[in-house]
Subunit: 212 residues, 2 copies
DNA sequence: ATTATCTATAGATCTATAGATAATGC
DNA sequence: ATTATCTATAGATCTATAGATAATGC
């Protein structure tokens, strides 16, 4: 039973989940330690197994939630209705970028764990594919209509376009330590770089769909 | 001393390095096991420590080499002289893409290990930055000249352009398991997807530099 | 009576090395 | 005489649980 202890906003169970999230996101499944999670959560180590039985089970809770959030971020970013196509795409890129900026190590975590253990992904597979298909269908319709009207380039595969956007938005965060050193940046430059990057991505994609 | 055993092309030391590469690339430092490496290399486990002393030391050998190769791939891809700018960039994108296709789990490996332990990256930092700067300087000159001639868009930061290219080229490989399931692909579709992807990336970048 | 918490420890791995033995080079 | 190889094991972690004790709800 989850219960909030007097002054504290979180139960021990929630504290473990929070600490586990940090540990797994930064070190991955193999590098994470259940003792470290328990210590960071401020609970006795045995409690971790009391609530979640195994490390694997606790991990799946985290991974599932993160995959769900990540998938939904794409949907909500591009699902804003009532905008003309070009604006809708610009808005989507920026929303998606802001989401990644707020959760910078989510993508690396997910692709890593899915790669190093594809069967973990199995459960989510269907759910992700389903929500993706609806978005793809809607956007493709709108793109085709706009193409007929001469507003955007013809015969654009929206799946490729979305992949362009996600690639451009995610990669700079994944590779930032390397970028920082190659560009000769100090930590102060970080924010300016990402602001610049967001505009670059919008520019690149709008040029991609432009009718020439 | 490295020596080749009669019929065999590799010494035990080389066999360990090869097995270590596979193990580290697929499981990362934390997930890799020295016993597994030794077994895969077909050598007694003690030999691994005889030749490389520690797991950490063996790992650094692999990571250093992979970072070097990865960095050089960008240089050789875009360092081909004698082509007009647009062709040089198209050629660079394709060469870089082909390199990633031949080493699909290199990027994920590198960004992960650098992220989870930035001090490991320290040694390489200067070397990578140096070779990068020369390439950046050369390409920027050429871009500025072309912009004056009206062939490409003005005020393009070549570092942003290179980051666009690397993002577009790398991400689809990093995320392929997820893409495969969302796109409803079977393993047979893989090759076609990546061929299509290469052309998409070229198109996107050429549109990015075009003078409108 | 049930749920939560702690202590103490089993049992499984995993890295690393000591020390003995075999192979090799000079 | 030096280098390579193997056996056997120390010693460090790390996950997981058994079993005792405290807190809570009815």
């Amino acid at each position: 039973m989850i219960k909030s202890k007097d002054g504290l906003p979180y139960s021990k169970e929630a504290a473990i989940l929070e600490a586990a999230e940090r540990e797994f996101l930064s070190k991955g499944f193999a590098g994470a330690r259940t003792v470290s999670i328990a210590k960071a959560a401020g609970v006795n180590h045995a409690m971790l197994h009391y609530y979640f039985r195994t490390k694997e089970h606790l991990f799946e809770r985290i991974l599932d939630e993160k995959m769900r959030i990540m998938g939904e971020s794409v949907l909500t970013a591009f699902g804003q209705p009532g905008l003309p196509l070009t604006e809708r795409i610009r808005d989507g890129i920026e929303r998606h970028f802001d989401f990644i900026a707020a959760n910078p190590d989510l993508p690396r975590f997910i692709v890593n764990e899915v790669f190093s253990c594809p069967e973990r992904y199995g459960a989510m597979q269907r759910r992700v594919a389903l929500i993706a298909h609806r978005l793809i269908y809607d956007l493709q319709q709108e793109l085709d209509t706009a193409a007929k009207g001469g507003d955007v380039v013809e015969a654009l595969d929206v799946r490729m376009l979305i992949l362009d956007i996600i690639s451009l938005n995610i990669f700079p965060f994944v590779a930032y330590p390397i970028i920082e050193s190659v560009f000769g940046y100090s930590p102060d430059d970080r924010e300016r770089f990402f602001m610049q990057r967001k505009q670059e991505n919008v520019e690149t994609i709008l040029r991609r769909i432009k009718k020439l």
